[in-house]
Amino acid sequence: MINEAPIEGTVMFDGVQAMKGYALNKMCYSFNKKENRDSFLADEEAYMSAYGLNEQQKQAIRDKVVLNLLAAGGNIYYLAKFAGIFGLNVQDVGAQQTGMTVEEFKEKLLRAGD
């Protein structure tokens, strides 16, 4: 039996998301290179405009809100490169998305082993 029912709290990064988020993900892909990370930090607005981000994407970047970045078409593997600029790891990102403190989020992960 095929069960394709939506999975709560999960957005499948498919063609629809890939089209929506292309500019945002392309900008984040550029952050593989240090000179690009430095250019972004030097002038975030100019950098976002150069990559053609729409206003929703720009605001999500300004706010650094991961759920909003996902809603704007961001792909987590690329967003991780954006988060890395600010020294945020996947646990910081997980805590933010679940409304927990980082300590609470780490505790949740530990409890998964019980």
């Binding site: 499948m12 593989n32 600029i85 992960l109």
Partner: protein
């Protein structure tokens, strides 16, 4: 003829890179994870495989969404690690085996698996973490590599069945290579984890244990699952288990588990490791 001596699996969590760089092998958080690897290293030192085929997913280093292959394979003399943007140290390059790669490509395409072929390919943590864990001195060790990339970044992902079937074709390709080489096939990624969305931090220990057991003795258990099933059971990135299935498909002989390790959490992930011997 070339022979597949075994199959390995390992998670490829990027945090491992910093833990290795900082030598956290005895740190209480890391020790139960790292302790799984030395017996496998000893086994590899004894068996001395010539080539490792590393099945992993690119995380936005070599490929971008402008061109996102479902299956890609390296055919380069050397593979370089590069800055991924968030601070894990860049490490020395890996030796390739381009003639062997081209044999695999010819055989796989002949068997209807149409690979994207790459004569240059940057390898990210998906490839480098397992290599560093199994061959800490890979730069000196006489081990050559073939990176085989499976898309787990952008849906649609290839199904569990498709990956297992490709693994079978890969096994056939390896074992038809005319030189007497010993080959080990490494399936990376997993086990359960989810990085994105309100469901971030999802881990399913019960399903992981099914994966650890069934991949050894009953891999066909997973073949009728969809990617959607994998995401529901193992988390958005837990779908990486399809790369373990690819590895398992390549093992054509009498498969015996030599070592295993399961530990959670490492970062956001349940980490799994297996060492399988592929007997006659």
């Amino acid at each position: 003829m070339a022979r597949i001596v075994g199959g390995l699996t390992s998670s490829h969590i990027p945090a491992i890179g910093n833990a290795i760089a900082n030598k956290k092998f005895d740190d209480p958080y890391w020790k139960p994870f790292f302790d799984g690897y030395p017996p496998v290293r000893d086994w590899l030192a004894e068996v001395k495989p010539d080539i490792a085929v590393i099945i992993y997913n690119d995380h936005g280093l070599n490929f971008f969404l402008d061109k996102q292959p479902t299956f890609a394979i390296g055919a380069a003399p050397e593979y370089h690690n590069q800055d991924e943007g968030w601070g894990i140290p860049t490490i020395a390059p890996f030796k390739g085996a381009p003639e062997f790669s081209w044999h695999l490509i010819n055989s796989l395409v002949h068997d209807d698996f149409d690979m994207v072929t790459c004569q240059e390919m940057a390898v990210d943590h998906g490839f480098t973490m397992p290599m560093q864990l199994f061959w800490p001195d890979y730069a000196q060790a006489n081990i050559k590599t073939v990176p085989l990339v499976v898309n787990t970044v952008q849906h649609p992902l290839p199904s569990p069945k498709r990956c297992y079937r490709m693994g079978q074709a890969l096994g056939k390709a390896i074992e038809s290579y005319p030189e007497d080489l010993k080959v080990v096939v490494v399936g990376t990624g997993g086990l359960s984890h989810q990085l994105d969305g309100e469901r971030a931090g999802f881990i399913n220990k019960e399903f992981d244990q099914i994966c650890m057991a069934k991949i050894v003795d009953d891999p066909e258990y997973f073949l009728d699952m969809s990617i959607h099933d994998m995401v529901r059971l193992a988390g958005a990135q837990g779908a990486e288990f399809i790369m373990w299935l690819t590895m398992r498909g390549a093992l054509t002989g009498n498969v015996k588990q030599l070592y295993s390790n399961y530990h959670l959490p490492i970062s956001n992930t349940a980490a799994g490791m297996l060492c399988l011997k592929n007997g006659a």
